[in-house]
C-alpha cells in the first residue's frame, strides 16, 4: 500500500492539473460535442454491439460540461484502470508504476486530439476507451481469479458474445487473450526445460516465474488493444473508428511510440535479471511511470490559440463580449483567423468596432492540425447567427449534425435560428432534443439570453433574401457580403463601412460614412475619422468642415504623411511605424498584407 499511494497521488494530481488547468475549455467543448440523451430506451442502445459502453461513456463524458465533475469521473476511471491491471495480472507493488501505462495512454488518447475533437465521429472519445479498458482488465482479472472449472467454462461461454455485444472490441479481445494465456503460460514454463540448449536470449525472455508471465500478459494485452491502431500506421490507411470503436485509434502516429516503448519494459522484463532486487524494480517502474507522464504532457494538445479560441467561443455563447475581448488582448501569439473573427464580432457587439478594431492583434496563424475548415467547424454557425445570416448558420449546423451526430453544439444553433426565424414548431423540436440532455437544457431554456441575442441580430436581417453559397469560407463570405451590400439598418451600414475598410474596398466609403454621420452625434469613431482623412487625401481633397475630425487625429495623420514620405521601402516603413501607428486603419491599409481569410 505504501508504494501504491505515491503513484496514485502523483497520477491524480497530474491529471487534475492538466485537465482542470490548461485544458478546461477543451473539456467544456468536448461536452458540447458529446451526443448524449438521458432518456434513450435501454433496448435502443443494447440493440447494437458496443452500445452499452458507448451510451454509458457518452453520459459520463457529457459531465465535462461541469469540468470538475467530469474530471473527477474521468480520473477515477483512469486510476481504477491501473488498479484493475494490478488485480488482473497480480502485479506486485514494486511493479505498480508499470500498471499506470494504460492509464496514461488513455489520458493522452483524449488530451492530444485538439482540433480533431470536431471531426472524430465517436460519441465518447475520452470515456469509452477508459471504461472499455477497465471492463476488459476486470474480466481478465476475473478469469485469473476463478478457481472452479465450471465457472471458467461459463466465462468462456458467456464472454465472447456478451463481451462483444456490450463492450465491442474491448470485450471481444478478452476471450482469445485468456485462451492464449492458458496455453501460453503452460508453454512458457517448458522453456526452463527445453530452451537451455536453444539459446540464451530465448530462455531469458520466456522462462521465469508467474510474475514475469503476468507482466508479459499485461504488456501483450495492452499491445493487443493498440494493435488495430498500430496497424493503421503500418498500413498507412486510417481505420474507421466507428467500426467496433477501436481503442487508441485517436492517438496520432507519433503518440503511439511512447506507449510501445513503455510496454517494452514489462515485455522484455525476462531479459533483465531483477528477481529479488525490489529497490531496482521500484526505480525502474517509477522511471516508466514518469516517462509515461512526460509523454502524456508533451503530446497533450495545449496550443494557446486553440484553447483561447475555445474560451472566446464559450464567452461569446454566454453573451460575455468583454470577456472575449479580454482574452484576445491577453493573447501573446499571432492569432488564427477564428480568433480575429471572434474579436471583431465582440467589438461589433460592444459598439467599439469603430474605435478599436485595428488596435487588436491581427494575423492568420495556421491551425495546428491537418488541413480542414476549422474556422467553420468551430465557430461557423456562431458567426453566421450573430451576423444575421440565419440561412447559413442553420445550414452549417445541420451539415455538421449530419456528418458528426446529434451534438448539443449544433442543436443549439438550429434551435436559436428557428426561434429567430419565427419557426416555433421547429424550435420546439430542437428544444425538446436539448431538454433530453443533462447539461444543455439551459441553452434552450435561457430565454432571456435568446431575447437579448435576437434583439441584437434582427437589425442585421434587414436585407433581401438571395440564393448563395459560401464554400465553407465563412470569414470571406461575411466580409464580402457586408462590404458589397447597400442600405439596410444602421447596424448593417456600419458593418458595410467597416468590412469595406477591412477588405480595403473604399469605393463605397463616403455614402456609408455620410449615412452614419448623424448617428454619431458629433463623436465619430476613431477608425472612421482615420479612414475619412486617408481616403480624402487619396482622392486629392480634404474632409469637408461638416466632418468633425479630432485635431489630434488630424495631426497624427499629417505626421504619418511626412514621416512616410521621408522613409524607404514598404517593409522598412512597416517596421518603423508599427509602434506608433500599428493600431490605426492607416497602418492596416498600407502595411498589413497577405492575411489569409479562413
Amino acid at each position: 500500500m505504501k508504494q501504491r499511494l505515491p503513484f496514485t497521488l502523483a497520477f491524480v494530481a497530474f491529471a487534475l492539473i492538466l485537465l482542470l488547468g490548461p485544458l478546461r475549455p477543451y473539456l467544456v467543448e468536448t461536452a458540447a460535442l458529446t451526443p448524449f440523451y438521458a432518456d434513450v430506451p435501454i433496448g435502443d442502445f443494447l440493440g447494437e454491439p458496443c452500445g452499452l459502453l458507448l451510451y454509458v461513456s457518452a453520459g459520463l463524458q457529457s459531465c465535462f460540461a461541469v469540468p470538475w465533475l467530469g474530471v473527477l469521473l474521468f480520473v477515477s476511471a483512469l486510476a481504477t484502470v491501473a488498479y484493475a491491471v494490478r488485480w488482473a495480472f497480480r502485479i506486485n507493488d514494486a511493479w505498480f508504476g508499470i500498471c499506470w501505462i494504460s492509464s496514461f495512454a488513455l489520458l493522452a488518447n483524449y488530451t492530444q486530439l485538439g482540433y480533431l475533437i470536431y471531426t472524430i465521429k465517436h460519441p465518447a472519445v475520452a470515456f469509452a476507451p477508459a471504461l472499455g479498458s477497465l471492463a476488459a482488465f476486470a474480466l481478465i482479472g476475473l478469469w485469473f481469479h476463478l478457481q472452479k472449472w465450471w465457472w471458467k467454462l461459463a466465462f468462456l461461454l458467456v464472454t465472447p458474445l456478451a463481451g462483444f455485444w456490450l463492450l465491442g472490441f474491448f470485450g471481444a479481445m478478452v476471450t482469445p487473450f485468456v485462451g492464449f494465456c492458458e496455453m501460453g503460460i503452460a508453454r512458457f514454463k517448458q522453456f526452463d526445460g527445453i530452451s537451455s540448449q536453444k539459446g540464451f536470449t530465448l530462455r531469458r525472455l520466456f522462462s521465469g516465474n508467474d510474475t514475469k508471465h503476468m507482466l508479459w500478459g499485461f504488456a501483450l494485452f495492452t499491445l493487443g488493444m493498440m494493435l488495430p491502431a498500430l496497424l493503421q500506421v503500418v498500413l498507412h490507411r486510417p481505420l474507421n473508428v466507428e467500426i467496433g470503436h477501436i481503442p487508441f485509434s485517436s492517438l496520432n502516429r507519433d503518440m503511439r511510440l511512447p506507449w510501445v516503448i513503455a510496454l517494452a519494459v514489462p515485455l522484455f522484463y525476462g531479459a533483465i535479471q531483477l528477481d529479488g532486487k525490489r529497490l531496482w524494480i521500484t526505480i525502474l517502474s517509477a522511471i516508466v511511470f514518469v516517462a509515461a507522464g512526460v509523454a502524456t504532457f508533451t503530446y497533450s494538445f495545449r496550443d494557446p490559440n486553440f484553447l483561447n479560441t475555445l474560451q472566446m467561443k464559450h464567452a461569446a455563447e454566454a453573451g460575455q463580449w468583454e470577456q472575449v475581448l479580454q482574452i484576445a488582448k491577453d493573447s501573446k501569439q499571432e492569432p488564427t483567423r477564428a480568433q480575429v473573427c471572434l474579436t471583431r464580432l465582440a467589438l461589433f457587439k460592444t459598439g467599439r468596432m469603430g474605435d478599436e478594431l485595428f488596435a487588436y492583434p491581427e494575423g492568420s496563424a495556421p491551425y495546428k492540425a491537418p488541413q480542414n475548415q476549422w474556422l467553420r467547424l468551430m465557430i461557423g454557425p456562431l458567426l453566421y447567427y450573430h451576423y444575421g445570416k440565419t440561412g447559413f448558420a442553420y445550414r452549417w449546423a445541420m451539415e455538421d449534425l449530419v456528418e458528426y451526430g446529434e451534438r448539443p453544439a449544433y442543436l443549439r444553433y438550429l434551435h436559436r435560428v428557428a426561434r429567430l426565424n419565427g419557426e416555433e414548431a421547429l424550435a420546439q423540436r430542437y428544444e425538446h432534443a436539448l431538454s433530453r440532455t443533462i447539461f444543455f437544457r439551459h441553452t434552450a431554456e435561457d430565454l432571456d439570453l435568446c431575447k437579448v441575442e435576437a434583439a441584437a441580430i434582427r437589425p442585421l436581417m434587414n436585407y433581401t433574401n438571395q440564393l448563395d453559397g459560401d464554400n465553407g469560407l465563412v470569414e470571406f463570405y461575411l466580409l464580402n457580403s457586408f462590404a458589397l451590400s447597400e442600405g439596410g439598418s444602421r447596424e448593417m451600414v456600419e458593418l458595410s463601412l467597416m468590412d469595406g475598410l477591412i477588405t480595403k474596398n473604399i469605393t463605397g466609403f463616403w455614402p456609408r460614412f455620410m449615412a452614419l454621420l448623424p448617428t454619431w452625434n458629433g463623436k465619430i469613431p476613431v477608425h472612421y475619422q482615420e479612414a475619412a482623412l486617408m481616403i480624402a487625401q487619396l482622392q486629392g481633397s480634404a474632409p469637408t468642415s461638416e466632418i468633425p475630425i479630432e485635431p489630434a487625429i488630424g495631426q497624427r495623420f499629417q505626421r504619418l504623411v511626412e514621416v512616410s514620405s521621408r522613409m524607404g521601402d514598404n517593409a522598412s516603413n512597416a517596421l518603423a511605424l508599427q509602434s506608433e501607428y500599428g493600431n490605426t486603419f492607416w497602418y492596416y491599409y498600407f502595411f498589413v498584407e497577405g492575411l489569409k481569410t479562413n
Binding site: 449530419v402 456528418e403 421547429l426 420546439q428 433574401n465 440564393l467 448563395d468
Partner: protein
C-alpha cells in the same frame, strides 16, 4: 411449516396475486364533469378515415394542468380498449379486433382527465373506419433534411399493420473516408406484385440495383450520350421497361428565407431503359426544356412527365438560374406509347401550370386511370422545400373535364410533395412538412369513390414521441403489396460487384427531334446527379 402445506400456500398466494393483478383493469371514472374543450393530442389524428388493417394510432395527451388520464376507445358493437396515462399506446391485437368490429363504421375515443382533483370528460372523438384495406407495406428512405453532406442513409420496409420495420439496405458498410455511398429511390413495379423493384446507389460502388424476386443485378445507366445515370424512375406496368429522368442537379442556399434550400435542375432529359436488352434510349433530349418525374398510365399507353421551358438569359446556367430560380415553371405533358414498337408519339400538354403562375411536379396516375395526382407550387420542381406546395388532382377525362383542383382535405400551409397511390386506389401516401416546416413525415389519406380526399392521419408509430424526437425525414415512400425479397447480405454482395454498363440505343421517339448541341457553361463544382427528394 410442513412441506406440502407450505407448497399449497405458496401456490394459493401466487394464484391470488395473479387474480388481483388480472383484475386491475383500469376503469372509467364514474364521477366526472362534461366539458366542451377538445382533447389536445399529439399526433392529432381524430376525425381521420382509417384503413381496417392499420397499426394502432398511439398518441400522447397534452394537458399540462391535469394529473391523471384515462382513455376509452370503443366501437358501437361493444368492443373497447381502456388505457391509462398520457402516452396512449394500444395493444396491436386488441386494436385490430376493435377495427374489425368497426369496419365501415366508426370508432369512438373518450378521454377523461383529472384536473384540480376533479375528473372531466372531454368531448368524444372519432375515427372513421373504411371498408377498403391498405397495402400491407411501404418502403421509404430515412435521411436528415440535409443540404450537401450525408452520412447514414437507410432504405426501410415498414409493415402498416404493425410497427415492424426492417432495413432493406443501409449505406455505411461500403463507405470509406474517401467516398461515401448515397442510396435513393426504392421504386417497386406494380406495388411489388411481381417482386420487382429498383433503387440507386451513387458514388462508392454506384449503379442502379434491380431486384427480381431474390435475384439482384446492378447496372450503370450512365452512357456517353446521356447527361447522368437514371434518377427518378417509372416502371412500365406491363413491359420490362423503366423510364427515368436524367438530371444535372445542384443545390443553392437561401440567406434568409426559411425555405432554406433550392434544388435546381440545370439540365434534364428523359430516357427509357429496356431491362431485357440492357439498352438506354432518349425519350426527351432538348437543351431548352427540362423534363423530369416520369409516370406511366396504368395501361402503359401514356407517359406523363413534367417539363419547363428554359430561356437562357446568360451563358452561365448556374448564375442564370440562381438569379431566376423562381422563373422556372413546370407543366405536365404526356406522350403516347406503343408497347409493340416501344416508340413514343408526339408530346401533348396535359396541365398548363405556367398559365396560372404555378409549377407542377411528381405526376402520378391513379390505378383506375381516372385521376392524375400531382404537386403544385409557385415555381421549380423540388417542392419538398416549397411551402406553397400542395397536392392537386386532375381528372383525366376529355379536355373539358380536365379541371384541376387542390386536394383540400390533405393539404396544409406547409409543403406537401411526394405521393403515391395504394394498389386499390383508395389510399394516398404523401409526405408533408406540416409539423414544423422542416422534417418530412408521412401521411395517409383516404380517397373516396367521389374523388375526394379525407382528413389524413400520420403514419402510426409505437411511441407517440417518435416523430418529435426523430431528427430525420421520410423520403420517397411507396406502397407495396408484398415484402421485398432479397436480404441485405444479398444486396451487398451484388453492390460490391461491378455494374453492368447499359448500352445507348438512340431515340425512342417515333419521329426523333433534331438535337441542338448545348453550348452553355456549367460550374463544375456544382454538378451532381441527384438529390434525395
Amino acid at each position: 411449516m410442513k412441506g406440502p402445506e407450505s407448497i399449497y400456500k405458496c401456490i394459493a398466494f401466487v394464484l391470488t396475486m395473479a387474480a388481483v393483478l388480472c383484475s386491475c383493469k383500469p376503469s372509467i371514472p364514474t364521477d366526472y364533469e362534461e366539458v366542451s374543450w377538445s382533447a389536445i393530442t399529439s399526433p392529432d389524428n381524430f376525425g381521420a378515415t382509417l384503413p381496417p388493417n392499420i397499426a394502432p394510432l398511439n398518441f400522447r395527451i397534452l394537458h399540462g394542468d391535469a394529473t391523471e388520464a384515462i382513455t376509452r376507445l370503443h366501437s358501437k358493437q361493444g368492443g373497447e380498449i381502456i388505457a391509462t396515462g398520457w402516452d396512449v399506446c394500444f395493444n396491436v391485437d386488441d386494436w385490430h379486433k376493435l377495427l374489425d368490429q368497426a369496419r365501415g363504421d366508426s370508432l369512438f375515443c373518450d378521454i377523461y382527465i383529472k384536473a384540480y382533483g376533479q375528473w372531466v370528460h372531454l368531448p368524444t372523438q372519432h375515427f372513421i373506419i373504411a371498408e377498403e384495406p391498405i397495402d400491407p407495406f411501404i418502403t421509404y428512405r430515412l435521411i436528415r433534411p440535409s443540404y450537401v453532406t450525408y452520412e447514414e442513409l437507410t432504405l426501410h420496409e415498414r409493415s402498416l399493420e404493425s410497427f415492424e420495420e426492417r432495413v432493406i439496405y443501409e449505406n455505411m458498410r461500403f463507405e470509406d473516408s474517401d467516398q461515401g455511398q448515397c442510396i435513393n429511390c426504392h421504386m417497386p413495379k406494380n406495388w411489388n406484385r411481381e417482386s420487382q423493384s429498383q433503387f440507386h446507389v451513387r458514388q462508392a460502388l454506384g449503379g442502379t440495383v434491380f431486384i427480381n424476386g431474390d435475384k439482384v443485378r446492378k447496372v450503370n445507366l450512365k452512357t456517353d450520350s446521356t447527361i447522368s445515370a437514371g434518377v427518378y424512375p417509372a416502371w412500365h406496368p406491363t413491359q420490362n421497361l423503366i423510364t427515368y429522368s436524367v438530371n444535372e442537379t445542384g443545390q443553392v442556399f437561401h440567406t434568409l428565407d426559411p425555405q432554406k434550400v433550392e434544388v435546381i435542375d440545370y439540365a434534364s432529359d428523359l430516357i427509357l431503359y429496356n431491362i431485357d436488352a440492357n439498352t438506354v434510349q432518349h425519350v426527351e433530349h432538348t437543351a431548352s426544356d427540362f423534363e423530369s418525374f416520369p409516370a406511366w398510365s396504368p395501361d402503359g399507353l401514356t407517359l406523363y412527365y413534367i417539363s419547363a421551358h428554359y430561356t437562357a438569359r446568360a451563358d452561365n446556367i448556374d448564375a442564370d438560374l440562381d438569379n431566376n430560380y423562381d422563373q422556372l415553371h413546370y407543366n405536365i405533358y404526356a406522350r403516347s406509347f406503343d408497347p409493340k414498337t416501344c416508340r413514343f408519339g408526339p408530346r401533348n400538354l396535359v396541365f398548363d401550370a405556367e398559365a396560372i403562375g404555378k409549377s407542377a411536379s411528381v405526376p402520378r396516375v391513379s390505378p383506375d386511370g381516372i385521376h392524375l395526382l400531382f404537386t403544385l407550387a409557385d415555381y421549380g420542381q423540388f417542392h419538398i422545400w416549397h411551402k406553397s406546395a400542395d397536392l392537386w388532382l386532375l381528372p383525366l377525362g376529355t379536355e373539358e373535364e380536365r379541371n384541376a383542383m387542390p386536394l383540400q382535405a390533405a393539404n396544409s400551409p406547409e409543403s406537401e410533395s411526394y405521393h403515391s397511390w395504394s394498389s386499390n386506389g383508395r389510399w394516398i401516401l404523401f409526405s408533408s412538412r406540416r409539423e414544423d416546416g422542416n422534417y418530412t413525415r408521412l401521411y395517409i389519406s383516404y380517397f373516396d369513390k367521389q374523388g375526394l380526399a379525407h382528413k389524413p392521419f400520420l403514419l402510426p408509430q409505437r411511441s407517440p414521441l417518435h416523430d418529435l424526437e426523430m431528427l430525420r425525414s421520410y423520403n420517397a415512400a411507396e406502397f407495396l403489396v408484398q415484402a421485398v425479397q432479397p436480404t441485405q447480405r444479398q444486396l451487398r454482395r451484388t453492390i460490391k460487384g461491378n455494374a453492368i454498363p447499359a448500352i445507348y440505343a438512340g431515340s425512342a421517339l417515333l419521329n426523333p427531334e433534331t438535337v441542338t448541341p448545348d453550348t452553355r457553361t456549367r460550374s463544375e463544382e456544382r454538378r451532381s446527379e441527384s438529390v434525395g427528394y
